[in-house]
Symmetry: D2
Subunit: 264 residues, 4 copies
Amino acid sequence: DQPLTLIAGPCQLETLDHARMIAETLVRICEGTGTQFVFKASYDKANRTSLKGRRGVGMEAGLRMLETIRAEFGCPVLTDVHDIPQAEAAAKVVDVIQIPAFLCRQTDLLLAAGKTGCVVNVKKGQFLAPWDMPNVADKVASTGNDKILLTERGVSFGYNTLIADMRSLPIMAKTGYPVIMDATHSVQQPGGQGGSSGGQREFAPVMARTAVSLGIAGVFIETHQDPDNAPSDGPNMVRLDDMPGLIASLMQFDVLAKADPFRL
Amino acid sequence: DQPLTLIAGPCQLETLDHARMIAETLVRICEGTGTQFVFKASYDKANRTSLKGRRGVGMEAGLRMLETIRAEFGCPVLTDVHDIPQAEAAAKVVDVIQIPAFLCRQTDLLLAAGKTGCVVNVKKGQFLAPWDMPNVADKVASTGNDKILLTERGVSFGYNTLIADMRSLPIMAKTGYPVIMDATHSVQQPGGQGGSSGGQREFAPVMARTAVSLGIAGVFIETHQDPDNAPSDGPNMVRLDDMPGLIASLMQFDVLAKADPFRL
Amino acid sequence: DQPLTLIAGPCQLETLDHARMIAETLVRICEGTGTQFVFKASYDKANRTSLKGRRGVGMEAGLRMLETIRAEFGCPVLTDVHDIPQAEAAAKVVDVIQIPAFLCRQTDLLLAAGKTGCVVNVKKGQFLAPWDMPNVADKVASTGNDKILLTERGVSFGYNTLIADMRSLPIMAKTGYPVIMDATHSVQQPGGQGGSSGGQREFAPVMARTAVSLGIAGVFIETHQDPDNAPSDGPNMVRLDDMPGLIASLMQFDVLAKADPFRL
Amino acid sequence: DQPLTLIAGPCQLETLDHARMIAETLVRICEGTGTQFVFKASYDKANRTSLKGRRGVGMEAGLRMLETIRAEFGCPVLTDVHDIPQAEAAAKVVDVIQIPAFLCRQTDLLLAAGKTGCVVNVKKGQFLAPWDMPNVADKVASTGNDKILLTERGVSFGYNTLIADMRSLPIMAKTGYPVIMDATHSVQQPGGQGGSSGGQREFAPVMARTAVSLGIAGVFIETHQDPDNAPSDGPNMVRLDDMPGLIASLMQFDVLAKADPFRL
């Protein structure tokens, strides 16, 4: 039972200097609190609500930025991939390949991610029960790669709303794979603003704290110095200024939870 | 910010000796952990899934038992009422009158409960959003009685399934009224066994711990020495033998949460 | 397989003249189309979202109005009851006693309604699966009264939203009891306007037509000459002016459906 | 307002002779009833619940079979694609390219499908509201291709269950694009059998008839001569033997509905 891992960063890569600023802040917070840190950012938002949403810097530029962040800060980096060639390209740079929730049942993508030998973080689809995830993990594991993370990010609850089921975390943990709580996407309101998704940033700490209290492996939080002007997921990203307090608080719950973990 | 309150007891009153045994066990646990204790039991299960379900000892006999428990153990007692005359009768005996979730919108019952001057614990309907509860509390408060508790017990999620939304707790807390998490009914599977409700007892600690980590006022847990043979709600009641460990664990999270409460 | 029954009227009784006006219009429409007609109105809205909602004329005045409508127009009348004494009082006047959805699991109310010998229309709770309704009907039938109607009025779907499951109609029909589609409450948005419920009147014909196409026994529609100024359920009531066209259209689908009913 | 279109065929291509048998049967039924027919079959099930599920004959073999069916029976053919190269390859053979529900937000796939100039049928994701589909259609239309179909196939309702919202059909029809009801996938129970999806074949006619009664453009039905032994989606496919009666019945409702269409 390792201390909590924080997977965090901006929703999408903007500039190298922006990524550096976010990474530096998060590295410093995590050093202070003994939190394991993985830098997360996307180079392409491949499934925006509408065509008007900004997609990002693209794979080539994005992977170069992630490579730089990794080298300069010495932290593992994670990015999400959307097709097989991307999985292969990203694997040359990143430590963790992430499978987006909408794509978590696409067999060939899971196999390709597994074959890279990277850690594979699969987000549970908004349409999936937690007990459906062992089948998903088995697809990755069939490649001989069992470095798998399973992430809860909320399940559809009526229209334009997600709800996070805390039962999901111990259910997925029964697989033996580390379980991550995505505290920012589980408070997303998909399509909730017509041309883009809404969100309830104020509840991200609720998702993080309640999940951490169960003794999970890690928490996933998107953060930005100015979420209201971020190119994507602004409504649900946590302000960078709020991260030190949030992480410090989570670490206290993590210590208590790891001493008394909930297991099914 | 008081220490955690535990509202607990058997789902339904069976015999006075049975109530005594449960109460004694819980009183002893709570004395050891500094937990405030309220004894809970029902004298009538008025909305069983099917006619074949056992309803209970009835109001007269039940109120007498509760009176005895209150006198012998010196603990406050809670019971649920289903119509106006019951509210008036129960108020002579109990400290807390509970409004069942299905009845949480019945204006006259809320008014009658308020008028008794007792503490009124309203369970949020399985069909209600947390932001609908201020309207419910206002009905009680209109009687001049603001001793109100608001309880989360899960919301409908597809058929025969409930899900607990952790956002609900801080949303209801914004009313200023103490918020309670019902850890056993939120893992009920209504009608899930055809002629009776099913449940997932193993997840009650998940509901309790995650809720307590937010710094709520209290937790509601039904318990029985032999749940599998209990007359009602067996599948979701916690074994009495498991209560000492559960309460001790919750109190640790309560101390941490009360020092760093989540507030909207 | 009788022609379609229309259960219709204003959500709540306002004045006798208002009830007369609505009843007269509906009687005339139904005579023209060969539709069986039952006049529906409530004397008390016992579970308004907020205390500020208008409750109605009260039981005494309401039952007198219903008695007059019944006598003057020669049509059966239906009203909803909220406790045992109301069931007994209403039974002296009305043909059909209705059990509100929130109360559909209250055993004593179901038994009291059954014992009156009236037809009993039970609305399926927003928290219930269709396969849970046989248990509900059994409670009524245990009194020896099998004049039971089962009504679909939508099921909780996220917060403040209902969804109507068309599978529910044939599932409930397997009981052998006539099945009714409540086309106006299934497009209600409970609590959707903060202090009162919203609704999507424009979809009531969708609910009615799709349900009628399956060959159900009847359709339930609340209607008002000026819904936007009605004291309750305005957002989901159908304009009285739209009723002739709607009923004529439904009758065409009813003829086709009754010639080729869907049965499980 | 054209007569109803039937998009039908086996869930996955098995052999050319099997496809011929199904196509021949459906062509004959549709000729007899004046129904427009589109043959549907998949060459690859790319998102099976588990690795053990049979994936299909593969793109090359599958497209050759579809080409043959198209030539021999003179009917348009539809298949689903899972990445950009598949969209381009399929476009050389099929009339309609289908975007699977899980992939309905993948911008690049929608753009690639649009650019082929084929008709593009987009299935609404199980996680999407009907009012989110105009954004999806806009992605396709941005390529200059407005030959778009929008298909309802159910929305997530709790775990392992879908529910079909009849309001969705007129909401999507407001885009001006033809709307299709997928009567077999909307009764799927995703992951409902552990290692594969379950389904409720008996309700497919309910979905089809209720949707057709609203005057939609078409209905999508997967069918098989022996669903219980089909390689995928057996539990929700309609028996081929039941198709003549079902189509004849739907055409009667279609005639009535097209004479009196429901429009928002």
